[in-house]
């Protein structure tokens, strides 16, 4: 028996010991080593001359490019004794002016053959897109105050878009744009307001991006374009919004075709009801003729559209309230212990119709809208009926419980009486 015990002990000890060992840490890869007198000399300098050497995690540097690839000169020469040898203008030393920067960056970034060596999927149309933008057009006309590549991407220490520290990462874009668009002195030159970045920060889009961490939520460049005037291929506000809100966008475009008499110029598209930068979460109160209505901004009480808006608003708010009531009652029934999962699931159809109706607002078709609301109302009513049925069953259960407890109590009483009757006689020994 003893050898078995010893073997068992050793096996258990071995198994326990081996699983108790910690995993070895993985070593991080080292950055590329590039020999350059630029870095060794500038590290001994101060202020602006020292600054570039602090950004060795720059995406260009990490991919093997160094100072001389942008600034020219000879990095093999120079040193402490003769900096002029490194700063040789005959070898292209210098730095581009703000007007030159777009073309300067495009020397590489518009060269497909060169860029694909680093990333086969990379775009090379940034310069041509930039030239379609107000920034690019003004730059081409000689205005050196408008934004160029380095204003958004940085000069040294440029990082990829995916890097959260990058100035063009979705979470940084609004602040990057705000550096100029919040500058009232600069914007005054172009007659532009400076409230856009602040307004954006109050929007539902900004809340999704910053509070929920949803990187797909739009920031400045998603509507205004990264380099161009708008995202590629999009001409109107409805198209821009519709690139994410696809169903609303397509319904809106259908309306444009079906009702050519409507004056749906870009100026009165999505932004009329939803605003442009301070887009707020839509509510059912936006429809109708109430104080929060956006319909009444344009439609006066004496036109048929006003009455149509009134009917639509009333019906969707009634559906929303009825669905809420059905949910509340089913919750109550569930808390009381009635199984209502199937009824709750059926209620989803009502919710789907409510969402569909909210989207159908963008078709400006009352009949179609009310048809969806009616379907939703059927589902909501079925939910309320199911909840009422559940409450009726609950009452039935309580009555059943009282009756059965009464029967049980009567049986117990009968047994006690019988026991007393038996034990009055010679039952015990």
């Amino acid at each position: 028996m003893r050898p078995w015990l010893a073997l068992t002990f050793l096996a258990v000890a071995g198994a326990a010991w081996s699983s108790a060992q910690e995993p070895k840490p993985v070593k991080a890869p080292e950055p590329p080593k590039i020999e350059s007198t630029c870095i060794s000399c500038h590290r001994q300098l101060s202020d602006a001359a020292l600054e570039p050497t602090k950004h060795l995690d720059d995406v260009h540097f990490q991919r093997g490019l160094s100072c001389h690839d942008c600034h020219g000169g000879d990095p093999t020469k120079g040193g402490d004794d003769d900096p002029a040898a490194a700063h040789d203008e005959r070898k292209g030393w210098g730095k581009p002016t703000r007007l030159q920067i777009p073309l300067f960056c495009a020397k590489c970034h518009a060269d497909a053959a060169y860029m694909k060596k680093f990333n086969p999927a990379t775009r090379v149309d940034q310069l041509s897109e930039y030239r379609t933008s107000v920034h690019g057009q003004r730059n081409a006309k000689g205005d050196d105050r408008t934004a160029v590549c380095v204003d958004c991407h940085g000069v040294h220490g440029i990082r990829t878009v995916k890097d959260p520290r990058s100035k063009v990462h979705p979470t940084q874009v609004a602040d990057t744009c705000a550096r100029c668009h919040n500058d009232s002195e600069l914007m005054a030159r172009y007659g532009l307001p400076t409230n856009q970045p602040g307004a954006y920060k109050t929007s539902v889009h900004a809340r999704a991006l910053y509070e929920k961490g949803d990187l797909s939520a739009p920031t400045c460049n998603d509507c205004h374009g990264s380099h161009g005037a708008a995202p590629p291929g999009l001409q109107t506000v409805a198209q821009v919004c519709g690139s994410c809100h696809t169903r609303e966008g397509s319904l809106y475009r259908e309306t444009e075709k079906k009702k050519p008499t409507l004056n749906l110029t870009p100026a009165i598209q999505c932004v009329v009801c939803h605003d442009n930068h301070a887009v707020q979460p839509p509510s059912d109160e936006m429809l109708g003729v109430g104080p929060k209505s956006t319909c009444t901004n344009c439609h006066q009480p004496d036109v048929p559209q006003y009455r149509s808006a009134e009917r639509m608003g009333r019906s969707i708010q009634a559906l929303s309230a009825r669905l809420e009531e059905a949910h509340r009652l089913l919750d109550q029934a569930e808390r009381a212990g009635i199984e209502v999962t199937a009824d709750r699931f059926a209620l989803r159809t009502g919710r789907d119709h409510l969402v569909e109706a909210r989207v159908l607002v963008h078709a400006f078709d009352e009949e179609r809208f009310l048809a969806s609301v009616d379907e939703g109302a059927k589902s909501a009513n079925a939910g309320v009926t199911a909840a009422e049925r559940a409450f009726a069953e609950l009452r039935q259960r309580r009555v059943g419980l009282v009756v059965s407890l009464a029967v049980i109590a009567a049986v117990i009483a009968g047994l006690v009486l019988k026991l007393r009757e038996i034990e009055r006689g010679p039952g015990l020994s």
């Binding site: 258990v12 108790a20 212990g337 009635i338 199984e339 419980l401 117990i412 039952g427 015990l428 020994s429």
Partner: protein, 368 residues
């Protein structure tokens, strides 16, 4: 009040063929001791009654339950929402299972403290402990059957614990799960265990247990026995039939009332269907009667003297179970004043307090 002639005739007919009167006579002759601890004698009958409820409601549940990953939850949902009194049957089955384990614990600990395991009742104790293990097996296997999220993850944790047992853990894990993970295969397996294997084993062991109870009668605690011997007064007793049985029946009726109340006011929840790809929800815990083991393993540090804490914990719990099983052979002189016997009583109280505290910690975790 006399029975109608046809009923009396039917009784005579049955008596000629079955001879029921001899059983009635046996019951009338069987005497149950009466003393200050007699109340504990009713725990066995109560456990048996609740087991009967489990069998009856379990058979009714079988008519609708479908043991597959795709249908288990839906079939229970249908039973709860659409089948007349389906909610009642399932709720009574679930509440009764919990009451059964509770009463079984009372029965077992009362037998332990009143030294009912002593000679010649060692086998009664052994079969009783085996029945307790079987009832816990019923609880563990039945918990998964509705295939809801909590049950799914609790089973995953529970089977993982079984998998940590040295030497046989991996085999036990695969045997229980029917594979590496908790899947629909595990559900089918647990269903088979719950409705076929465990009932078959229980029928045999319960039969032996009841037979032994009949053979040896009720055990009188050593203190009461010694007191009777000292004073020379014979112990009072009453007939099993009808005195004891009527009292038993009063208890059963009361239990039925409690079950009806619990089922009607707090119907057993179904929860959300298990999603094996979802992350485990917060607050997973096993049924309360596994709580003390769960909490004990949770409290242990990852490593103790270079050994895995959890493995040591499992070994300790297994050792405690073995000691509990072997009590009749360890506490061999359970007379009043015997030191070993007193130590066993003290250990029993300690175990009870420990189990109560650790179980409470599962439901009211200590913060910080």
């Amino acid at each position: 009040m006399t029975a109608p002639a046809w009923l009396a005739e039917a009784g005579r007919w049955l008596e000629e063929r079955v001879g029921l009167s001899q059983f009635v006579e046996l019951g009338r002759h069987k005497q149950v001791p009466l003393h200050k601890h007699s109340v504990w004698y009713y725990m066995g009958g109560m456990t048996l009654f609740l087991f009967g409820i489990q069998v009856a409601t379990g058979i009714l549940l079988l008519l609708y339950y479908r043991p597959s990953e795709g249908e288990a939850f839906e079939s229970v949902q249908f039973l709860m929402a659409r089948v007349p009194f389906g909610w009642l049957i399932r709720s009574i089955h679930s509440w009764s299972a919990n009451l059964l384990v509770f009463v079984l614990f009372l029965h077992m600990f009362s037998a332990f403290f009143l030294k009912a395991f002593r000679k010649p009742r060692e086998l009664t104790w052994l079969t009783g402990v085996a029945l307790m293990a079987l009832m816990m097996g019923f609880g563990f296997s039945g918990y998964l059957l509705p295939w809801n999220t909590l049950a799914f993850f609790a089973t995953q944790v529970g089977t993982e614990v079984a998998g940590r047992v040295p030497m046989v853990g991996e085999f036990a894990l695969r045997l229980l799960r029917g594979g590496d993970q908790v899947t629909g295969g595990t559900l089918t397996r647990f269903y088979g265990i719950h409705v076929a294997i465990l009932p078959a084993l229980t029928t045999v062991i319960l039969g032996v247990h009841l037979m032994l109870v009949q053979k040896h009668g009720m055990s009188v605690p050593p203190k009461i026995e010694a007191e009777s011997e000292r004073t020379g007064e014979p112990l009072r007793s009453h007939a099993f039939l009808p005195n004891f049985l009527i009292r038993d029946a009063i208890g059963w009726c009361a239990a039925l009332g409690v079950l009806a109340g619990l089922a009607a006011v707090f119907p057993w929840e179904l929860g959300v269907k298990a999603d094996p790809f979802a992350s485990a929800p917060a607050g997973i815990r096993p049924e309360w009667y596994f709580g003390w083991m769960f909490q004990s393993l949770k409290m242990l540090p990852p490593h103790i003297l270079g050994f895995e804490g959890e493995v040591l914990g499992i070994l300790a719990i297994s050792a405690a179970g073995l000691v509990w099983f072997a009590v009749p052979f360890l506490d061999r002189s359970p007379k009043p004043g015997n030191r070993v016997s007193l130590a066993f009583v003290a250990s029993g109280w300690l175990a009870l307090v420990y189990m109560a505290v650790t179980t409470a910690m599962v439901y009211w975790p200590v913060k910080g």
